[in-house]
């Protein structure tokens, strides 16, 4: 047997690291040497990762904040240290040949950081002070030090005002939805992702749906390739939030842009820095699962299993009085095959260093994330290597490679009748199941043992290659060319062996196997040239031109075999019936832009830009789209005439800004074209039937199809007070999307029964974003830093354009009759018909004992939060102990508690917690009383849902609940181990961290399991808690060692 694949990966990594170390320069001191430490002002905590430069050499600090600059020319040397989130510091030191000089620097936190470099949304890098729009930068290295994060969405959650992370399922591998400044589209709302300038796919992994029923069932959760990025590899994340900022990204950026910047080495003689992080912990299901109930009716006291089996059908009711209610907790909590504490294991190893003309960062990652269900895990292995090579002072190159191998296994869940959460709240305590292998309390023949048979696995390999060349032929003219490839190959397999529970449920008792192999490629080619010329002493011009080309190709092959014959047969060719299919998607876009920025006295900056885009998915009658952009940025605190004014308020820096811009969203590939395809047709032969090919109409097409046009104004300011111990960042935005891409009905009499993608209608989003950074206490032994952010969003569907055609499209509804797009209200708002009441407030009934329902629908609320608050606090004690807590509040939204709706439906009303739980029998307020009355009345009507009730007389409104919550999202304590102890092992520093995520829901109005649980992760606007797994609580301990 060969070496297991995972081990091979680690050996490869170790070999690569070894080679690099061998290549690192030896530190022969031919000139002088500068040693020193970089710390944070106030608490004197060492700053790792700070760039230190002096005497033509540069390096980065290690975990102890220490650095060494070797071969520094003798003489007076200016040493400069800089780090993201801190003001740069400088000091001067005398260096003698063959001697070592010392230079210690203290950097002050600079939350405002007007001179920090920003790479996103601009033509080339630029300083923050010139940017007319809001850009949020996250110091990810610091976040990963302090918390337990598994992917990019967890990094963003609660920390970036205006960026909504809408969690769906707590199952490892299930993706959250990312939405920036509200939904600006009815078809796609996710931002585009770039990693080091390379377009990065966040598409699903091509996995089979996790809803059971073999492969024939619907899929409700979505996965995302975005989870492949190892958080430990990320240096920072920049988010630009809307068309005002995203214009230069063109026809795909109306939903915002997220730029991930990975860690790099730093050029300059230095010693190699190793870093190892080991994390171990558990995912836990700690949600309050509702109890189940059985009413011992008179019939049940005597009911037998069958006419031939005299055993009691309801053993739990034996000896009880009629009307006795059996109450039992969820069966999965006692089932040995129900739920577990899933292990979390992470190991990260990285090395960084550099020489005179090169630098490198290499890392390897092993991440095992086991879910709370026994057949749930998501494992990731990744290797990253980033290199920088400098040919001469005018030309340098950056190369980045990343290989990821991911293995996902999804448990059966969501709305599947075999899902353990479904079963756990539909339990029937006291009933004889008739299936000895099924643990008591489940409603039927499926329990943990059976549900765990579900075998749905997806293996993915992802390779990302990128190269950037920077060429500066003249000091005033710089060029950057970026080329990149992002390639993901998947191998998904679902297997239901003959006779297995899953096969039975999927109506394929003979067994089924299906394999799906998606392959997705993104190619990026990007050029930007910038000429910076001083026109006068006080006026500078920066002119940029660029061209950006993106090509995406996705092909998926699927094979299915039904009828496996024997449990051990898992190949498609052995199946009694087999079929295959493939899907194909090809899209290309090209955009040109020109930007002119004028800088007046390095204080006032005016920016104007135009971008023209063409895309293969535009209609043939539509040519190119041009997006304009304009903005100003004014550092008013540096205006000589205003300086004294701002100094009066202890303001250190104040910048006001305003921006206007447009960006778009391209239609889905091929939707502009009228098309036919070939389908399978059964045709007769002389001896039976055979399958032949036939033509079928597919797409009606729209030759005039164009992209959505997002248009946005934003105004804001950034201000720092008290030496930036207090900083504010405020933005108001008004974003409007016109020419919405909407599916509109096509008259079937044309012979086409598909929808037609059409540009109709508009959406408006308005809101404010507020970020406050405080350092209330800054002492050697005690520092308290606080980061508070608030964001609001008012989303409104202004117009459908042609409402009748849009509504007639079969796929129009967001979620049945509960969520609908309606003009004048948020997208996919909750709507329901309320029962009619008399003057006394009593519900009115029809002759058939059903409640009389109002014919009009009443708006109940928005499915997405209209206000969010994040509050992170960091307390550092004795420079060595760091306490961190992040609170996350979301409010102003509703969730459809489908689970309880089902439990209270007449056919299953025994499990209705509102009827059986004392908390609901003793209403806390008038609203509770009304709710209980409605539910009781409804149950009392005795309607059989399957035959007697329709959607017109079901009571939905009591189950559309407020989803507002306050969670303790992250909490951690980090302790730096004593240096003396660490030094004994040869390490330069070590930190032990105990961290927890989703530790507690401190407050919520929601009565279900988790207000963040959403069964329909694959449908952007649906917020329905129908047995989706809640967010796990994750508790881990980690040790981070640096050498």
């Amino acid at each position: 047997m060969g070496i297991p694949i995972q081990r091979k990966g680690w050996l490869t990594l170790a070999a690569a690291v070894g080679l690099l170390c061998a290549a690192a320069p030896s530190l022969h001191a031919q000139g002088g040497t500068i040693r020193g430490t970089v710390v944070e002002t106030g608490n004197r905590q060492p700053l790792a990762g700070a760039t230190v430069a002096g005497g033509g050499r540069s390096t980065v600090t290690d975990a102890a904040g220490e650095f060494t600059l070797a071969e520094v020319p003798a003489g007076r040397v200016q040493v400069r240290a800089s780090r993201l989130g801190y003001q740069a510091g400088e000091t001067s030191v005398s260096v003698a040949a063959g001697a070592t000089a010392r230079a210690d620097l203290a950097l002050a936190p600079a939350a405002l950081g007007l001179d920090a470099i920003v790479v996103t949304g601009t033509a080339g890098v630029t300083s923050r002070r010139t940017i007319p729009n809001s850009v949020t930068s996250l110091d990810v290295a610091q976040i990963t030090e302090r918390t337990t994060v598994g992917d990019v969405t967890e990094i963003l959650q609660g920390r970036t005002p205006g960026v909504q992370i809408l969690s769906n399922s707590g199952t490892p591998g299930a993706a959250a939805d990312i939405r920036i400044r509200g939904a600006g589209s009815l078809t796609a709302v996710r931002p585009v992702i770039y990693v080091d300038g390379i377009r990065y796919s966040d598409a699903d992994l091509g996995n089979f749906g996790a809803s059971g029923g073999a492969v024939t069932s619907f899929s409700t959760q979505v996965t995302s390739a975005l989870s492949f990025i190892n958080p430990e590899d990320i240096e920072s994340i920049e988010v630009i939030k809307g068309p005002a900022a995203a214009t230069l990204y063109g026809a795909e950026a109306a939903g915002g842009v997220i730029q991930v910047i990975t860690k790099k080495g730093t050029r300059g003689s230095q010693r190699t820095q190793w870093s190892a992080k080991v994390e171990y912990g558990q995912n836990q299901l700690r949600s309050d699962l509702p109890d189940n109930f059985t009413v011992c009716t008179t019939a049940r006291l005597t009911e037998t299993v069958s006419a031939t089996n005299p055993a009691p059908r309801w053993p739990g009711c034996q000896g009880q009085q009629a009307g006795y209610v059996i109450r039992e907790e969820s069966p999965i909590l006692n089932d040995p095959f129900g739920v577990r504490d899933g292990d979390v294991r992470r190991l990260n190893l990285s090395v960084r260093g550099g020489g005179d003309r090169f630098s490198y960062f290499v890392s390897g990652d092993m991440d095992e994330d086991n879910g709370v269900f026994y057949n749930s895990f998501n494992n990731r292995r990744s290797v990253r290597a980033n290199f920088t090579a400098t040919a001469n002072e005018r030309l340098d190159f950056q190369f980045s490679t990343n290989f990821v191998r991911n293995h996902l296994r999804l448990p059966i869940g969501d709305e599947s009748a075999q899902g353990l959460l479904f079963l756990s709240v539909r339990g029937r305590p006291g009933r004889f199941t008739g299936f000895p292998e099924v643990f008591a309390g489940y409603p039927g023949s499926v329990g943990g043992l059976q549900a765990n048979e579900y075998n749905n696995q997806t293996r993915s390999d992802r390779t990302t290659l990128g190269g950037t060349a920077n060429y500066r032929p003249f000091p005033w003219f710089r060029n950057r060319v970026t080329l990149g490839l992002d390639l993901t190959r998947g191998d998904a397999q679902i297997l239901s062996t003959p006779g297995s529970t899953d096969a039975q449920f999927g109506e394929v008792p003979e067994g089924i196997v299906a394999i799906r192999e998606p392959e997705e490629r993104y190619y990026t080619a990007d050029y930007v040239g910038t000429a910076e010329l001083p026109i006068t002493d006080w006026l500078e011009s920066s002119t940029s031109v660029g061209v950006n080309y993106i090509a995406r190709r996705r092909e998926t092959l699927t094979g299915t075999g039904r009828g496996l014959g024997a449990p051990d047969i898992t190949t498609i060719q052995s199946a009694a019936f087999s079929s295959s299919s493939n899907t194909y998607l090809d899209n290309k876009s090209i955009g040109y832009y020109i930007q002119e920025q004028l800088g007046f006295n390095n204080r006032l900056f005016l920016t104007g830009a135009l971008r023209a885009d063409d895309n293969s998915s535009f209609g043939r009658e539509f040519d190119v789209i041009v997006y304009p952009k304009a903005g100003f940025s004014w550092v008013v605190s540096e205006e000589p005439r205003l300086e004294s004014f701002f100094q009066r308020f202890a303001a250190t820096q104040v910048k006001v800004r305003g921006a206007y811009g447009q960006a778009g969203r391209a239609p889905d590939p091929y939707s502009a074209n009228q098309t036919y395809t070939v389908v399978k047709v059964t045709a007769p032969t002389a001896t039976g039937v055979t399958t032949v090919n036939g033509i079928r109409s597919v797409g009606f097409g729209n030759p005039n199809l164009e992209p959505e046009r997002g248009e946005e104004y934003e105004l804001g300011f950034e201000a720092g007070f008290l030496d930036d111990r207090v900083t504010l960042d405020f933005t108001y935005y008004d974003k409007r999307t016109d020419n919405l891409l909407q599916n509109a009905a096509v008259a079937p009499s044309t012979g086409f029964i598909s929808s037609q993608l059409t540009n109709l209608g508009n959406i408006r989003n308005t809101g404010v974003e507020f970020l406050l950074n405080l350092v209330p206490v800054q002492r050697d032994a005690f520092t308290w830093e606080s980061r508070f952010n608030l964001a609001t969003n008012q989303n409104e569907l202004v117009s459908f354009g042609d409402e009748a055609r849009v509504r007639a499209d079969a796929a129009f509804q967001a979620y049945g009759t509960v969520q609908e797009h309606r003009v004048g209200h948020p997208i996919a708002g909750f709507w329901a018909r309320l029962p009619m009441r008399d003057d006394a407030g009593n519900i009115q009934f029809a002759a058939n004992n059903l409640p009389l329902m109002d014919t009009a629908f009443t708006y109940l609320g928005s499915p997405t939060p209209s206000r969010e608050i994040g509050w992170g606090n960091t307390i550092t004690l004795f420079r060595n102990v760091t306490l961190f807590a992040q609170l996350d509040y979301k409010g102003g939204f509703k969730v459809f508690n489908r689970k309880e709706f089902d439990r209270c439906r007449p056919a299953a009303a025994e499990n209705c917690e509102r009827l059986n739980d004392i908390r609901y029998f003793e209403p806390k307020n008038a609203a509770d009383s009304a709710l209980i009355r409605e539910v009781n009345v409804y149950r009392g009507s005795g309607v059989n849902f399957a035959t007697g009730a329709t959607l017109t007389n079901l009571l939905f409104s009591p189950y559309v609940e407020d989803g507002d919550f306050l969670k303790l999202r992250d909490v951690s304590i980090s302790v730096g181990l004593p240096r003396a102890l660490v030094a004994r092992s040869g390490a330069s520093g070590a930190t032990f961290t105990l961290a927890a995520r989703n530790l507690a829901t401190l407050w919520t109005r929601y009565s279900g399991i988790d207000p963040e649980a959403n069964t329909y992760g694959n449908r952007s606007f649906v917020r329905v808690d129908a047995y989706a797994a809640p967010q796990n609580r994750r508790v881990t301990a980690s040790l981070n060692i640096n050498f």
């Binding site: 080309y549 040109y592 074209n673 098309t675 070939v678 109409s697 509109a744 007639a808 399957a946």
Partner: protein, 461 residues
Amino acid sequence: MMKRSFAPARFGRRVLATGAALLALGGLGACDGLLDVENPQAIDPEQLNDPAYLTLLTFGVMGDFQRAFDDVAVYTGLFTDELRNHATFSEEPLIETRAVTPDNGTIGGGVYAQLQRARGLADTTAQIFRSVRGDSVATDLRFARVQAYSGISIVLMGEVLCEAPLNNSRPYTPQELFRDFALPRLNEAIAVATAARAVGAAVNPSTTASRALVEGADSIINFARVGAARAALNLNDKPLAIQYASPVPLAFRFSAFYSENSAEENNLVDARLRAAVNSSVSGTPFEALVNMDPRVPIPTATRTAVGSGQQVFVPRSPSAYSTFTGTLPGGDFSRASSIRVASGLEARYIRAEAEGPTAENIAFIESRRVIAPGTTPASATQPTTAANYFSNLRDQRRRDFYLDAHRLGDLRRYQAQYGAGIESFNQFQTGPVSGAPGLAFTEQYCLPVNRAEMTSNPHYQ
């Protein structure tokens, strides 16, 4: 820092290098091919004019019709008295109670849209045939097949829909559909197939191909004749119906075919009745046939309905299905069960209905009755006479054509041509739905066009 002197050569090299890079990148946009994409799963409409596509188009017409036909059989069975609903999806009780609105996606997408797609592709294909084949189309059996499917699709539309537009036209009444659109297509199918048959028959000595041509032409001719007879009967033009039906041999059978091969080719009836009990005959007039008539085999053993969990009687393969066994227990449906679309038996029934109680016709109906003479209702126990002729004919017809998309057209024809004075089990059901408290039948007797048609067809604005 030492100041560097200006070097024209070096400056020139840098300008050249920069210019070359800019030109190379700028040239990206000048190349139109950069935005060319592949779509190996799609065909442009212009490509269909290639003669190589004609056979594919013909099979496509057949496939679209077959895809629509099982939906029509199931949902019109539910809309009439052939099936009772047990599915929980909210639209299906509305089909059962005949309360279908244009927003009902099950009917709008499953019946209306699929019939229109089948008819639409057939019409497009016919145009392409005329354009590509020119005069040769007059003897092209593929063209005859396309026109036959087009005609039968329109016959079905006339029987089940209240009205229907064609190609964004004004809505046509069922009478217009039968007379102005179905019959011309079916007549052309008969004429072209007859000409093609003559070509095949003229080959002397005959070859395998010529014999296949003759057999295929006979099949299309008879298929089109039965469709035309069906349209004529619905038009109450009995002489015309007799004219079309008479030449059709009793043994003739034309089916819609299905297969296990792919989900696309599966027979929907199997999923609704065998794989899961979404429907039954419990509470319908057909419940009286439990274990009585092999043509509608309904076992006495009940099955558990989805949704309600009730124990219900579920029919197995009736005589129109290839999985029919002719026995009382019957055979299971399968994903590959083919369904009879037209037959000599139907032509014989059309003749019998159009001609009335001649001795030959009485004998024919009696020959059907004796298959299950003991069954209820009582009329079925009586030998066929001139007096009970139509009653027995209608009773036998509902059994012989159970669940093959005839029942809704029959009930509408009985209602229009025979009035209310006929046996109750050959009328639309009224009153409460048996076994479904709170549900009652409405007075809807046909299916509406769907919302997409109403909002997108300018004639509905």
